[in-house]
């Protein structure tokens, strides 16, 4: 699979996603259609309604801040863990547990606060910061407008 850069080649990748909100559910649907084996974890049952008919994976109802939930989702077997809950601190803790406790090779987490990025990356976690992404995008848009006027 082309998007699994640096991962060990195998037939089916096992991906665990924490948080089944707008982002988590979309990623789950997409990874499912890409042929990954996907498990989505959320503490609210209703959140799973966002999963489409394309989704072929499993759901785990539980609080990601409890280690038992991570065990139930078989994080130790995961090739990739995506941590996408709306709370930075939860994401930090879950990502760190996945990385340090369960020794997952690739852990990707969302951090809203750019101040948190350094702490994530120091522990080998890959960070997606929506704030910085938006800043970059808006800068580009503004640059384009400015370019038009000149």
């Amino acid at each position: 699979m082309p998007f699994m850069k640096g991962a060990i080649r195998k037939d089916e990748y096992y991906v665990v996603i924490f948080g089944c909100g707008r982002l988590g559910s979309r990623m789950a649907n997409w990874l499912s259609t890409m042929g990954c084996s996907v498990v989505v974890v959320d503490r609210s049952e209703e959140a799973f309604q966002a999963l489409s008919f394309e989704f072929t994976g499993f759901t785990v109802l539980g609080d990601a801040t409890e280690l038992d939930t991570l065990k139930e989702a078989k994080v130790d077997k995961a090739d990739v863990v995506l941590v996408l809950t709306p709370d930075d601190n939860t994401n930090l803790m879950v990502a760190m547990s996945a990385k340090e406790y369960f020794k997952v090779t690739r852990v990707v987490a969302r951090a809203y606060d750019p101040n948190n990025i350094e702490m994530f990356s120091d522990f080998g976690i890959e960070v997606i910061c929506p704030t910085l992404l938006a800043v970059e995008n808006i800068k580009n848009v503004l640059y384009f407008i400015g370019g038009d006027e000149r």
Partner: protein, 219 residues
């Protein structure tokens, strides 16, 4: 040195009171506005309203390396981030975190937060001790991997009068010694347990309750 208490309402209040009475300088950081007002009225502590896991809040505390930094919120993730930030950004040497889920202890320690207190665990073992206080003493209360138990046998114990080999003890446990009238017997299968014997039992904490059941009966 000052004491910095992050989050936690009743516990923070009582800890603040305790340390103030011992003459320490105490700082209380809390998200709850009402709680902050109350504390400010009642105690001589410095009160700061805000989320103690955020850097811009910790910034205001003028932390010093030697400060005692304690995170007491009901959310493990907030305690972890507060302690990590205190240690990494402000150089606090030994931040203390409360963990609500005792399973998270290992994660905290792996991340470098070595001082972890789990109220659930403390209460749990206190409760277990009080349940069997009369007949059982855990000789190694701090270990999670092994229990060394001292168990007194009475005439009511189902194991009394039985040979060790006939006791349905779980595999992960063993009777290491029997103390009988100041004599120590290292038991083999044929030894029969008598009333008044004191057993020293080694066991995996996970099977501890079935050990009690076999030796002392339904509790």
């Amino acid at each position: 040195m000052k004491i910095v208490l992050i989050g936690g309402e009743k516990i923070a209040y009582h800890l603040a009171r305790r340390f103030l009475s011992k003459g320490y300088q105490v700082m209380v950081v809390n998200k709850n506005e009402k709680f902050c007002e109350e504390i400010a009225k009642k105690l001589r502590a410095l009160v700061i309203r805000g989320d103690g896991s955020r850097r811009y809040v910790l910034e205001q505390l003028e932390l010093d390396r030697t400060d005692l930094f304690v995170a007491l919120t009901p959310n493990d993730q907030d305690n972890l981030v507060a302690c990590l930030t205190a240690a990494r950004v402000y150089g606090i040497e030994r931040p203390v975190a409360l963990v609500n889920d005792p399973d998270n202890k290992a994660t905290f320690q792996m991340m470098g937060v070595k001082n972890v207190v789990s109220p659930t665990e403390i209460l749990g073992s206190a409760l277990e001790d009080s349940l069997f206080r009369e007949q059982i003493t855990n000789l190694l209360p701090s270990s999670e991997k092994i229990s060394i138990l001292r168990i007194e046998m009475t005439d009511k114990s189902p194991a009394t009068g039985q040979a060790v080999k006939n006791l349905p003890l779980p595999k992960e446990s063993v009777i290491g010694a029997i103390i009988r009238e100041n004599e120590v017997i290292i038991p083999r299968g044929d030894n029969v347990i008598e009333e008044g014997d004191i057993l020293l039992v080694l066991s995996n904490p996970k099977v501890q309750s079935s050990v009690f059941e076999v030796l002392l009966g339904e509790v």
